[in-house]
Symmetry: C2
Subunit: 223 residues, 2 copies
């Protein structure tokens, strides 16, 4: 006789094992993309890095492009998701944008391999950049930000963060200067000096859910 | 009897032909790098694009890396060199940096293929970024720029230009907003409002020596 519980149990074990393999492929893929860039790697690079067969790879991903997409999605969810709730809870838009950027740049400074990864895979952060556009419009409406066009303000905020991350990747032992970067960013957005001093003096919230992928990028801080 | 003039003439013709072939390889390489990025192309891509033999290619360049390096050097010299003398002649540092950045972004807006190329080959512009650092230090010393650290100011100026160029590449039909970008850049560098208005009102010099490579990147302006 067939027990009614056994198939459920087996299925659950199967699903768990499958999730574990998928996570393992994604984790190994981070190293490959960091080394070779977003578009150069071939399937054998990922198969070798994960220590799996090509057949197993194809059970999870059809193409290297699909794997890149899944890796980006996982990291955005993991890394930005680990900071998002704390920053999003701040109602004041200048303080919210300042705090979110300070949190992110400090995390990047403490995980220099992340900086190298993002330099090679600039598609990372699209989600964060979309949220940025909303914050810029809110801040312009409320008068705390003053700039001639939201597109130029977006170029400034997205550009300075990307450039700081690239610099941290290129000079991993140099001081990260993260708060100085956020200072000139706010100055560029037209935040007045008193307001700027106030938001930069605020303490930075501690993330309630640290990024699971952090260990992949950890190389020490020089902030 | 051997005429004493003939070998010289032959040598000169040979050198001219050789320079012409080299220029042709460089020009064709621009299209290959723009399409495939800085590191993905193989020698056959360049051989096919230039319509030459592999043997001819190797007469000029040992590796694709050497070709990349030569292409970058040629374009930096040609594109930045076509604007440099006019901007460098301006003694006032805020006006000089504003004018150089306005000239460059307008040129980029009128040559959207250049924007796509630079997005794929971000090594372009290293020379310009080094000059930038010198301008930032000069401006900080004279008090016209106010920022907490020159590295953060550099992240801002280099980052906003790179981001604006990427945006122009991604949305080739949208307005380029180049002067708005320079406005928020100067604001971020701490230029006071009166000074900012003054430098943005200045007329832009016309380049005495237009870039030879311009036709490779021309796709029309939307500024």
């Amino acid at each position: 006789m067939i027990s009614p519980h056994k198939p459920d149990h087996r299925r659950r074990v199967g699903v768990e094992r499958s999730q574990k393999t998928r996570a393992h492929i994604l984790e190994s893929a981070v190293g490959v993309f960091a080394l070779k860039g977003a578009h150069a790697p071939v399937i054998d690079d990922f198969v070798r890095a994960a220590g799996i067969s090509r057949g197993t790879f194809y059970n999870y991903f059809d193409t290297t492009h699909a794997l890149l997409h899944a890796t980006i999605e996982w990291l955005e969810d993991d890394v930005f998701g680990s900071m998002e709730p704390e920053a999003a809870a701040i109602p004041d838009v200048a303080l919210r944008l300042a705090t979110a950027t300070r949190m992110y740049l400090r995390w990047a400074a403490a995980h220099r391999r992340w900086c190298a990864f993002v330099t090679h895979v600039p598609q990372i952060g699209t989600l964060a950049r979309r949220r940025l556009l909303r914050d810029l419009r809110d801040g312009q409406k409320s008068g705390v930000f003053r700039f001639p066009h939201v597109q130029a303000a977006h170029d400034l905020a997205a550009g300075i963060v990307a450039q700081a991350v690239q610099r941290m990747a290129a000079t991993p032992r140099a001081a990260a200067r993260t708060d100085e970067v956020v200072h000139v960013m706010l100055q560029g957005l037209g935040v007045n000096p008193a307001e700027l001093q106030r938001v930069m003096a605020a303490s930075i919230p501690v993330s309630a859910r640290p990024a699971k992928s952090a260990s992949l990028f950890k190389t020490g801080s020089n902030d």
